[in-house]
Protein backbone atom coordinates (compact mmCIF):
# COMPACT_ATOMS: atom_id res chain seq x y z
CA UNK A 1 0.00 0.00 0.00
CA UNK A 2 1.76 3.16 -1.15
CA UNK A 3 1.82 6.28 0.96
CA UNK A 4 -0.07 9.03 -0.78
CA UNK A 5 0.18 11.64 1.91
CA UNK A 6 1.69 12.15 5.30
CA UNK A 7 -1.75 11.92 6.87
CA UNK A 8 -2.62 8.61 5.20
CA UNK A 9 -1.99 5.52 7.25
CA UNK A 10 -4.22 2.95 5.57
CA UNK A 11 -6.31 2.39 2.48
CA UNK A 12 -9.06 0.04 1.33
CA UNK A 13 -8.54 -1.85 -1.91
CA UNK A 14 -11.49 -1.16 -4.19
CA UNK A 15 -10.60 -3.11 -7.31
CA UNK A 16 -7.79 -4.68 -9.24
CA UNK A 17 -7.43 -3.40 -12.80
CA UNK A 18 -4.91 -6.14 -13.65
CA UNK A 19 -4.98 -9.87 -13.06
CA UNK A 20 -2.18 -12.24 -12.15
CA UNK A 21 -0.22 -13.04 -15.27
CA UNK A 22 -0.87 -9.65 -16.88
CA UNK A 23 2.06 -7.72 -18.19
CA UNK A 24 2.43 -4.34 -16.53
CA UNK A 25 4.45 -1.36 -17.60
CA UNK A 26 5.89 1.44 -15.63
CA UNK A 27 3.16 4.06 -15.15
CA UNK A 28 0.27 1.60 -15.56
CA UNK A 29 -2.63 1.87 -13.19
CA UNK A 30 -3.12 -1.53 -11.58
CA UNK A 31 -5.55 -0.92 -8.77
CA UNK A 32 -7.85 1.59 -7.12
CA UNK A 33 -7.68 2.31 -3.42
CA UNK A 34 -10.23 4.14 -1.30
CA UNK A 35 -8.74 6.64 1.16
CA UNK A 36 -10.11 9.30 3.49
CA UNK A 37 -9.87 11.67 0.54
CA UNK A 38 -11.55 9.44 -2.01
CA UNK A 39 -10.51 6.82 -4.55
CA UNK A 40 -6.93 7.01 -5.77
CA UNK A 41 -5.35 5.02 -8.57
CA UNK A 42 -2.28 2.97 -7.81
CA UNK A 43 0.43 3.10 -10.42
CA UNK A 44 3.45 0.82 -10.80
CA UNK A 45 6.97 2.05 -11.12
CA UNK A 46 8.42 -0.97 -12.90
CA UNK A 47 7.88 -3.15 -15.92
CA UNK A 48 7.13 -6.83 -15.33
CA UNK A 49 4.42 -9.42 -14.85
CA UNK A 50 1.86 -9.24 -12.07
CA UNK A 51 2.55 -12.61 -10.46
CA UNK A 52 0.54 -12.58 -7.27
CA UNK A 53 -2.24 -10.55 -5.71
CA UNK A 54 -2.17 -10.56 -1.93
CA UNK A 55 -5.00 -8.25 -0.96
CA UNK A 56 -8.56 -8.68 -2.08
CA UNK A 57 -11.07 -5.92 -2.74
CA UNK A 58 -12.70 -4.65 0.43
CA UNK A 59 -9.63 -5.22 2.60
CA UNK A 60 -8.27 -2.26 4.51
CA UNK A 61 -4.50 -2.49 4.78
CA UNK A 62 -1.89 -0.26 6.38
CA UNK A 63 0.56 1.79 4.37
CA UNK A 64 3.62 -0.26 3.59
CA UNK A 65 1.89 -3.65 3.29
CA UNK A 66 2.53 -5.58 0.07
CA UNK A 67 -0.52 -5.53 -2.23
CA UNK A 68 0.86 -7.65 -5.03
CA UNK A 69 4.10 -9.00 -6.47
CA UNK A 70 5.49 -8.06 -9.85
CA UNK A 71 8.06 -10.41 -11.36
CA UNK A 72 10.99 -8.90 -13.13
CA UNK A 73 10.90 -5.89 -10.88
CA UNK A 74 14.11 -4.72 -9.37
CA UNK A 75 14.00 -5.91 -5.80
CA UNK A 76 15.01 -2.53 -4.51
CA UNK A 77 11.93 -0.90 -5.86
CA UNK A 78 9.48 -3.25 -4.19
CA UNK A 79 7.13 -1.56 -1.81
CA UNK A 80 8.85 -1.31 1.52
CA UNK A 81 8.03 -3.92 4.13
CA UNK A 82 5.49 -3.00 6.72
CA UNK A 83 8.03 -2.13 9.36
CA UNK A 84 9.22 0.83 7.35
CA UNK A 85 5.98 2.44 8.29
CA UNK A 86 7.54 2.86 11.69
CA UNK A 87 10.91 3.91 10.40
CA UNK A 88 10.39 7.22 12.06
CA UNK A 89 11.65 5.41 15.11
CA UNK A 90 15.10 5.52 13.56
CA UNK A 91 14.96 9.24 13.07
CA UNK A 92 16.50 11.48 15.64
CA UNK A 93 13.69 12.60 17.88
CA UNK A 94 13.32 15.79 19.76
CA UNK A 95 13.90 15.47 23.47
CA UNK A 96 10.93 16.30 25.65
CA UNK A 97 10.65 20.00 26.10
CA UNK A 98 11.37 20.48 29.73
CA UNK A 99 10.86 18.60 32.88
CA UNK A 100 7.68 19.67 34.52
CA UNK A 101 8.27 22.22 37.20
CA UNK A 102 8.40 20.61 40.59
CA UNK A 103 5.67 22.07 42.69
CA UNK A 104 5.44 22.20 46.41
CA UNK A 105 2.27 20.85 47.88
CA UNK A 106 0.48 22.62 50.67
CA UNK A 107 0.81 21.03 54.11
CA UNK A 108 -2.92 20.45 54.30
CA UNK A 109 -5.74 21.42 52.04
CA UNK A 110 -7.29 23.60 54.71
CA UNK A 111 -4.11 24.90 56.28
CA UNK A 112 -2.80 28.40 55.73
CA UNK A 113 -1.38 29.29 52.33
CA UNK A 114 2.32 29.94 52.26
CA UNK A 115 4.18 31.79 49.54
CA UNK A 116 6.99 29.96 47.75
CA UNK A 117 9.62 32.35 49.06
CA UNK A 118 8.26 32.05 52.60
CA UNK A 119 8.22 28.29 52.40
CA UNK A 120 11.85 28.27 51.38
CA UNK A 121 12.89 30.66 54.14
CA UNK A 122 11.01 28.64 56.73
CA UNK A 123 12.76 25.52 55.57
CA UNK A 124 16.18 27.11 55.74
CA UNK A 125 15.45 28.34 59.29
CA UNK A 126 14.24 24.91 60.33
CA UNK A 127 10.80 26.32 61.04
CA UNK A 128 7.70 24.20 60.64
CA UNK A 129 5.27 26.26 58.52
CA UNK A 130 2.47 24.89 60.69
CA UNK A 131 3.91 26.74 63.68
CA UNK A 132 3.95 30.14 61.95
CA UNK A 133 1.10 32.53 62.52
CA UNK A 134 -0.34 33.63 59.16
CA UNK A 135 -1.08 37.25 58.29
CA UNK A 136 -4.55 38.76 58.46
CA UNK A 137 -5.36 37.36 55.05
CA UNK A 138 -4.53 33.86 56.19
CA UNK A 139 -1.33 33.72 54.15
CA UNK A 140 2.16 33.07 55.43
CA UNK A 141 4.53 35.34 53.54
CA UNK A 142 8.15 36.31 54.02
CA UNK A 143 7.01 38.90 56.59
CA UNK A 144 5.45 36.26 58.83
CA UNK A 145 8.38 33.85 58.54
CA UNK A 146 10.85 36.59 59.36
CA UNK A 147 8.79 37.61 62.37
CA UNK A 148 8.71 34.02 63.54
CA UNK A 149 12.42 33.59 62.98
CA UNK A 150 13.26 36.67 65.00
CA UNK A 151 10.89 35.92 67.80
CA UNK A 152 13.29 34.96 70.53
CA UNK A 153 10.73 32.94 72.44
CA UNK A 154 9.78 30.82 69.52
CA UNK A 155 11.33 27.50 70.22
CA UNK A 156 11.57 24.44 68.14
CA UNK A 157 9.17 21.77 69.17
CA UNK A 158 10.91 18.97 70.99
CA UNK A 159 12.01 16.09 68.88
CA UNK A 160 13.61 16.36 65.50
CA UNK A 161 11.94 15.18 62.36
CA UNK A 162 14.74 13.14 60.87
CA UNK A 163 13.43 13.36 57.32
CA UNK A 164 12.76 17.07 57.47
CA UNK A 165 16.29 17.62 58.73
CA UNK A 166 17.75 15.51 55.95
CA UNK A 167 15.66 17.43 53.42
CA UNK A 168 16.82 20.73 54.83
CA UNK A 169 20.45 19.64 54.68
CA UNK A 170 19.97 18.31 51.18
CA UNK A 171 18.41 21.49 49.93
CA UNK A 172 20.90 23.81 51.62
CA UNK A 173 23.91 21.81 50.51
CA UNK A 174 22.62 21.28 46.99
CA UNK A 175 21.98 24.98 46.69
CA UNK A 176 25.45 25.68 48.04
CA UNK A 177 27.11 23.41 45.55
CA UNK A 178 24.98 24.81 42.77
CA UNK A 179 25.29 28.48 43.50
CA UNK A 180 28.45 29.06 45.46
CA UNK A 181 31.81 28.88 43.73
CA UNK A 182 33.87 27.50 46.62
CA UNK A 183 37.59 27.97 47.11
CA UNK A 184 39.46 25.95 49.69
CA UNK A 185 42.59 26.78 51.71
CA UNK A 186 44.23 24.40 54.17
CA UNK A 187 46.88 24.86 56.84
CA UNK A 188 48.30 22.49 59.41
CA UNK A 189 48.37 24.33 62.74
CA UNK A 190 50.63 23.40 65.61
CA UNK A 191 48.12 23.51 68.45
CA UNK A 192 50.52 22.16 71.08
CA UNK A 193 50.62 25.51 72.94
CA UNK A 194 46.84 25.61 73.06
CA UNK A 195 46.48 22.02 74.19
CA UNK A 196 49.17 22.40 76.84
CA UNK A 197 47.67 25.61 78.09
CA UNK A 198 44.24 24.03 78.12
CA UNK A 199 45.51 20.98 80.02
CA UNK A 200 47.05 23.20 82.65
CA UNK A 201 43.93 25.38 82.77
CA UNK A 202 41.57 22.45 83.11
CA UNK A 203 43.75 20.90 85.81
CA UNK A 204 43.17 23.99 87.92
CA UNK A 205 39.43 24.01 87.38
CA UNK A 206 36.69 22.01 89.00
CA UNK A 207 35.22 19.55 86.60
CA UNK A 208 32.17 21.68 85.66
CA UNK A 209 34.42 24.57 84.62
CA UNK A 210 36.72 22.61 82.38
CA UNK A 211 36.77 23.58 78.73
CA UNK A 212 36.59 21.55 75.55
CA UNK A 213 39.29 22.53 73.06
CA UNK A 214 36.46 23.55 70.73
CA UNK A 215 35.98 26.59 72.99
CA UNK A 216 39.33 28.29 72.37
CA UNK A 217 38.90 27.43 68.67
CA UNK A 218 35.54 29.24 68.65
CA UNK A 219 36.93 32.20 70.54
CA UNK A 220 39.97 32.52 68.27
CA UNK A 221 37.79 32.20 65.16
CA UNK A 222 35.36 34.85 66.43
CA UNK A 223 38.10 37.32 67.31
CA UNK A 224 39.81 36.75 64.00
CA UNK A 225 36.64 37.04 61.91
CA UNK A 226 35.95 40.49 63.32
CA UNK A 227 38.81 41.62 61.09
CA UNK A 228 37.42 39.92 57.98
CA UNK A 229 34.32 41.77 56.82
CA UNK A 230 34.26 39.80 53.62
CA UNK A 231 34.07 36.42 55.32
CA UNK A 232 31.34 37.19 57.83
CA UNK A 233 27.91 37.98 56.44
CA UNK A 234 25.34 36.86 53.91
CA UNK A 235 25.08 36.73 50.12
CA UNK A 236 21.49 37.53 49.24
CA UNK A 237 19.89 38.57 45.94
CA UNK A 238 23.16 38.75 44.09
CA UNK A 239 24.73 40.99 46.71
CA UNK A 240 26.96 40.44 49.71
CA UNK A 241 26.23 42.17 52.97
CA UNK A 242 28.54 41.92 55.92
CA UNK A 243 27.09 41.77 59.44
CA UNK A 244 28.25 43.71 62.46
CA UNK A 245 28.35 40.74 64.81
CA UNK A 246 30.11 37.45 64.35
CA UNK A 247 27.55 34.70 65.03
CA UNK A 248 29.37 31.44 64.64
CA UNK A 249 27.18 28.51 63.81
CA UNK A 250 28.53 25.34 65.37
CA UNK A 251 27.93 22.14 63.48
CA UNK A 252 26.42 19.74 65.99
CA UNK A 253 26.04 16.18 64.85
CA UNK A 254 22.90 14.25 65.72
CA UNK A 255 23.40 10.74 66.94
CA UNK A 256 21.06 9.27 64.34
CA UNK A 257 22.71 11.16 61.52
CA UNK A 258 22.35 14.67 60.25
CA UNK A 259 23.55 17.84 61.83
CA UNK A 260 22.25 21.20 62.95
CA UNK A 261 24.28 24.37 63.09
CA UNK A 262 22.83 26.67 65.73
CA UNK A 263 24.67 29.94 66.21
CA UNK A 264 26.20 31.46 69.31
CA UNK A 265 25.02 35.02 68.86
CA UNK A 266 27.82 37.59 69.03
CA UNK A 267 30.37 34.88 69.68
CA UNK A 268 33.22 37.32 70.22
CA UNK A 269 31.46 38.97 73.15
CA UNK A 270 31.75 35.81 75.25
CA UNK A 271 34.86 34.83 77.22
CA UNK A 272 35.97 31.21 77.34
CA UNK A 273 33.85 30.23 80.33
CA UNK A 274 30.79 31.92 78.95
CA UNK A 275 31.35 30.29 75.59
CA UNK A 276 31.65 26.90 77.25
CA UNK A 277 28.35 27.25 79.00
CA UNK A 278 26.69 28.58 75.82
CA UNK A 279 28.05 25.65 73.88
CA UNK A 280 27.01 23.15 76.49
CA UNK A 281 23.52 24.60 76.57
CA UNK A 282 23.34 24.68 72.78
CA UNK A 283 24.37 21.06 72.42
CA UNK A 284 21.84 19.97 75.01
CA UNK A 285 19.01 21.90 73.41
CA UNK A 286 20.02 20.79 69.93
CA UNK A 287 19.90 17.18 70.97
CA UNK A 288 16.74 17.46 73.01
CA UNK A 289 14.89 20.07 71.00
CA UNK A 290 14.31 23.61 72.15
CA UNK A 291 16.51 25.71 69.93
CA UNK A 292 15.47 29.30 69.36
CA UNK A 293 14.68 30.15 65.77
CA UNK A 294 17.08 33.05 65.93
CA UNK A 295 19.87 30.65 66.78
CA UNK A 296 18.97 28.71 63.65
CA UNK A 297 18.63 31.60 61.27
CA UNK A 298 21.17 34.15 62.36
CA UNK A 299 24.49 32.38 61.87
CA UNK A 300 26.94 34.47 59.87
CA UNK A 301 29.71 31.88 59.53
CA UNK A 302 30.06 28.20 60.47
CA UNK A 303 32.67 26.19 62.29
CA UNK A 304 32.68 22.44 62.00
CA UNK A 305 34.99 20.40 64.18
CA UNK A 306 35.48 16.71 63.51
CA UNK A 307 36.62 16.02 67.06
CA UNK A 308 38.73 13.36 68.65
CA UNK A 309 39.53 10.09 66.93
CA UNK A 310 37.80 10.90 63.70
CA UNK A 311 39.73 11.98 60.62
CA UNK A 312 42.53 14.34 59.72
CA UNK A 313 40.77 16.87 57.61
CA UNK A 314 37.51 17.77 55.89
CA UNK A 315 36.50 20.01 52.98
CA UNK A 316 33.48 21.83 54.36
CA UNK A 317 30.54 23.10 52.28
CA UNK A 318 29.38 26.64 52.91
CA UNK A 319 25.97 26.98 54.52
CA UNK A 320 24.10 29.53 52.39
CA UNK A 321 23.58 32.45 52.56
CA UNK A 322 26.84 32.47 54.56
CA UNK A 323 30.06 32.90 52.62
CA UNK A 324 32.66 31.18 54.81
CA UNK A 325 33.11 27.98 56.76
CA UNK A 326 35.93 26.66 58.93
CA UNK A 327 36.57 22.92 59.08
CA UNK A 328 38.84 21.49 61.79
CA UNK A 329 40.24 17.98 61.60
CA UNK A 330 41.17 15.87 64.59
CA UNK A 331 44.18 16.82 66.70
CA UNK A 332 46.93 14.25 66.51
CA UNK A 333 50.51 13.94 67.59
CA UNK A 334 52.56 13.96 64.42
CA UNK A 335 56.19 14.76 63.50
CA UNK A 336 56.84 18.47 62.99
CA UNK A 337 59.98 20.40 62.25
CA UNK A 338 61.06 23.10 64.68
CA UNK A 339 64.50 24.67 64.34
CA UNK A 340 65.66 21.91 61.98
CA UNK A 341 64.69 19.19 64.41
CA UNK A 342 61.84 16.76 63.94
CA UNK A 343 59.74 16.83 67.07
CA UNK A 344 56.39 15.28 68.03
CA UNK A 345 53.70 17.98 68.19
CA UNK A 346 49.93 18.12 68.42
CA UNK A 347 48.77 19.14 64.97
CA UNK A 348 45.43 20.06 63.48
CA UNK A 349 44.59 20.46 59.79
CA UNK A 350 42.23 23.36 59.28
CA UNK A 351 40.49 23.84 55.93
CA UNK A 352 38.43 26.90 55.21
CA UNK A 353 36.04 27.32 52.31
CA UNK A 354 35.09 30.74 51.01
CA UNK A 355 32.58 32.05 48.51
CA UNK A 356 34.58 33.20 45.51
CA UNK A 357 31.90 35.70 44.54
CA UNK A 358 32.81 37.62 47.67
CA UNK A 359 36.43 36.87 48.54
CA UNK A 360 39.51 35.11 47.21
CA UNK A 361 41.74 32.31 48.46
CA UNK A 362 44.23 34.89 49.65
CA UNK A 363 41.69 36.07 52.23
CA UNK A 364 41.16 32.53 53.42
CA UNK A 365 44.91 32.14 53.85
CA UNK A 366 45.13 35.42 55.77
CA UNK A 367 42.37 34.23 58.06
CA UNK A 368 44.15 30.93 58.72
CA UNK A 369 47.36 32.73 59.62
CA UNK A 370 45.53 35.08 61.96
CA UNK A 371 43.57 32.21 63.50
CA UNK A 372 46.80 30.21 64.02
CA UNK A 373 48.54 33.20 65.60
CA UNK A 374 45.75 33.59 68.14
CA UNK A 375 45.83 29.89 69.01
CA UNK A 376 49.58 30.11 69.51
CA UNK A 377 48.96 32.55 72.37
CA UNK A 378 46.08 30.83 74.17
CA UNK A 379 46.64 32.71 77.40
CA UNK A 380 45.51 35.88 75.64
CA UNK A 381 42.22 34.41 74.50
Amino acid sequence: MPSLGADMDAGTLVEWLKSPGDKVRRGDIIAVVETQKGAIEIEVFDDGVLSEIRVKPGDEVPVGQVLALIDGADEDSEPPPAETATKAAGLPSRPMDQEPLRTVSQPTADGPKISPAARRLAQSCGLDPGSITPGKDGVIGLREVEAAAHHADTTQPAGIDQRAMRNAIASAMARSNREIPHYYVTSTLDVTPMMEWLGAYNARQPIERRLLYLVPLLRAAALSLRKFDDLNGAFVDGRYQTTANVNIGVAIAMRKGGLITPAILDTASHDLQSLMSKLSDLVRRTRQGGLKSSELSMGTVTLTNLGEQTADALLPIIYPPQVFIIGCGQIQVRPWVIDDAVVPRQLMDVTVAGDHRVSDGRRGAQFLRNFGDLLARPEEL
Binding site: A203, I207, R210, L212, L214, R255
Partner: protein, 84 residues
Amino acid sequence: MTEPEIENLVRRELYAVAPDLEGLEIEPNETFRDQFEIDSMDTLNFIIGLSKATGLDIPEADYPQLETFSGCKSYISKRLRAPG
Protein backbone atom coordinates in the same frame (compact mmCIF):
# COMPACT_ATOMS: atom_id res chain seq x y z
CA MET B 1 29.09 0.97 96.47
CA THR B 2 28.35 -2.46 95.17
CA GLU B 3 29.14 -3.46 91.63
CA PRO B 4 25.45 -3.47 90.57
CA GLU B 5 25.10 0.00 92.12
CA ILE B 6 28.06 1.24 90.12
CA GLU B 7 26.62 -0.29 86.97
CA ASN B 8 23.30 1.42 87.56
CA LEU B 9 25.05 4.70 88.22
CA VAL B 10 27.02 4.57 84.96
CA ARG B 11 23.89 3.67 83.00
CA ARG B 12 21.92 6.47 84.61
CA GLU B 13 24.56 9.10 83.82
CA LEU B 14 24.94 7.85 80.28
CA TYR B 15 21.20 8.07 79.71
CA ALA B 16 21.22 11.56 81.23
CA VAL B 17 23.40 12.86 78.44
CA ALA B 18 21.86 10.63 75.78
CA PRO B 19 18.27 9.78 76.65
CA ASP B 20 17.76 8.14 73.29
CA LEU B 21 20.11 5.32 74.32
CA GLU B 22 17.81 4.11 77.08
CA GLY B 23 17.09 0.40 76.79
CA LEU B 24 19.93 -0.27 74.38
CA GLU B 25 22.37 -3.05 75.05
CA ILE B 26 25.75 -1.70 76.16
CA GLU B 27 28.82 -3.55 74.89
CA PRO B 28 31.11 -3.36 77.98
CA ASN B 29 34.46 -3.15 76.22
CA GLU B 30 33.62 -0.97 73.21
CA THR B 31 33.99 2.80 73.55
CA PHE B 32 30.83 4.84 73.97
CA ARG B 33 32.04 6.97 71.07
CA ASP B 34 32.10 4.03 68.68
CA GLN B 35 28.89 2.47 69.97
CA PHE B 36 26.69 5.49 70.37
CA GLU B 37 28.41 8.36 68.54
CA ILE B 38 29.04 10.05 71.86
CA ASP B 39 31.12 13.18 71.23
CA SER B 40 33.44 15.17 73.45
CA MET B 41 30.66 17.36 74.83
CA ASP B 42 28.61 14.29 75.75
CA THR B 43 31.68 12.69 77.28
CA LEU B 44 32.36 15.76 79.35
CA ASN B 45 28.79 15.97 80.59
CA PHE B 46 28.83 12.26 81.36
CA ILE B 47 32.00 12.60 83.42
CA ILE B 48 30.59 15.64 85.21
CA GLY B 49 27.59 13.48 86.06
CA LEU B 50 29.77 10.65 87.35
CA SER B 51 31.82 13.07 89.37
CA LYS B 52 28.75 14.64 91.01
CA ALA B 53 27.13 11.28 91.74
CA THR B 54 30.24 9.77 93.29
CA GLY B 55 31.84 12.88 94.76
CA LEU B 56 35.06 11.98 93.01
CA ASP B 57 37.29 14.64 91.49
CA ILE B 58 38.18 13.18 88.11
CA PRO B 59 41.25 14.80 86.53
CA GLU B 60 41.28 15.30 82.79
CA ALA B 61 44.18 12.91 82.45
CA ASP B 62 41.89 10.08 83.63
CA TYR B 63 39.20 10.71 80.96
CA PRO B 64 40.59 8.01 78.64
CA GLN B 65 39.87 5.40 81.36
CA LEU B 66 36.17 6.31 81.22
CA GLU B 67 35.62 5.60 77.53
CA THR B 68 34.01 2.17 77.99
CA PHE B 69 31.39 0.72 80.28
CA SER B 70 33.80 -1.72 81.92
CA GLY B 71 36.43 1.01 82.13
CA CYS B 72 33.98 3.19 84.06
CA LYS B 73 33.10 0.37 86.44
CA SER B 74 36.69 -0.50 87.30
CA TYR B 75 37.78 3.15 87.50
CA ILE B 76 35.00 4.09 89.90
CA SER B 77 35.34 1.05 92.09
CA LYS B 78 39.16 1.52 92.20
CA ARG B 79 38.83 5.22 93.04
CA LEU B 80 36.15 4.64 95.68
CA ARG B 81 38.25 1.94 97.33
CA ALA B 82 41.39 4.04 97.29
CA PRO B 83 42.18 6.05 100.36
CA GLY B 84 41.67 9.83 100.21
